[in-house]
Amino acid sequence: MGNLQVVYEVPKIYTGPNHYCPGCFHGIIHRVIAEILQEEGWDDISIGIAPVGCAVLAYDYIDIDWFEAPHGRACANATGIKWAWPDRLVFTYQGDGDAASIGFAETSYAAIRGVNITTIMVNNAVYGMTGGQMAPTTLVGMKTTTSPYGRDPKYAGYPLKMAEHIAQFEGTALSVRVSAFDPQHVLDMKKWIRKAFQYQMEGKGYTFIEVVSTCPTNWRMDPVKAAEFVKNEMIKVYPLGVYKDVGDEKKEG
């Protein structure tokens, strides 16, 4: 491009087109992960674990080694992979249903055990892939296909706050909640995912990034409205922020 100065180029290892609905944040998050891996030269040594959820085909979209996990078990699979190759960058990419409902134990135990892997959990408050059922993260009163009268705490309890939950464990090196509803937050998300990967490469322990995301399709909103809903409603219940950061204290012993 001649004398043009690059401001932003989509990373080569981000390999579309993807199957996501228009405006779904999954694509943004993928792209950002690809940016980091490419910038840091980690794409050669990375192994991603794709979930069962809308991101089940994530392996088609970032040019690294990938494993497709049974629903919820990504962190257990990642534990096996990490101990097979302790110096590789191993991360799981999961939905909220995947990481926080059926996989609640496996995700939590990665933190309890301090497994040196990273989880990126995409919280869109529903089960996107299967058609918009209630997730543990569904807001109280929110209507989904399995909470047709709105989530009722009497039967379904209260929204689960994973970033806070994961932060409580000693094995956790980093637990952060970010979002992607505007460019600033996308950059912030990128900063924290990068940090998570860095901590992992330094052997600091388990790192966890929760991304407050959208599901325009199942929320029955257009993508811009959905992004606004995240900004105005979701982050009231899921406040963005750093819930744990061991900083430079802890090195692999």
Partner: protein, 183 residues
């Protein structure tokens, strides 16, 4: 007697509902009938279709691999179902969205600019009803236009009564156009 119909198009074009209304109309007339959608994530973005079977005896298979009646909403579906259609069958398609041209000489093609017509009538949402109306013309030995209108009103009328009148108009329009072309 066994009528096998396929409705196919993009998700969101009303493909599924058109099939359900036909099936319901047939049921009300006392026929055996099934409606079977393609399902799963491929619905998202990609093409969706449904199969309707109508018979005077219990229906063994809800699937057809050689549909006699095809109602086609978009190009990919045209490409997929034209070769499958049964010899002598009826092939109704929406020329507003479809650039493909008929290739067989053993089918009756009914091309209708349904989307444009629907827009003219007040809402693109009526596209599917125009095409269903056209189909109804060919199924009169089973369901009359009035049967289909009644089924449509029962299915949609409660939730969106304002739409029902438009839809009735659309069904009638499609029926008329088919009648003309079929001559």
């Amino acid at each position: 007697m066994l009528k096998d119909v396929i409705f196919a198009g993009f998700g969101g074009q009303g493909v599924m509902v058109a099939g359900q209304i036909l099936s319901k109309a047939a049921m009300e007339k006392g026929y055996y009938t099934t409606w079977l959608p393609s399902y799963g994530p491929e619905q998202r973005g990609g093409t969706a279709n449904c199969t309707v079977m109508i018979s005077d005896e219990p229906i063994a298979s809800p699937l057809t691999h050689e549909p006699t009646y095809c109602v086609i909403f978009n190009n990919p579906s045209f490409q997929k179902f034209e070769p499958m259609a049964r010899k002598g069958g009826i092939f109704i398609y929406n020329t507003s969205m479809i650039t493909e041209k008929p290739k067989r000489d053993d089918l009756t093609y009914i091309g209708i600019a349904a989307t444009e017509l629907a827009e003219e009538m007040g809402s693109v949402k009526a596209t599917n009803m125009i095409l269903l109306g056209a189909l109804t013309y060919f199924l009169q030995d089973v369901v009359s236009l009035d049967d289909v209108i009644a089924a449509m009103r029962e299915k949609l009328g409660k939730k969106k009564p304002e739409l029902a009148d438009l839809n009735e108009q659309a069904l009638r329009k499609g029926f008329e156009l088919a009648k003309e072309q079929a001559k």
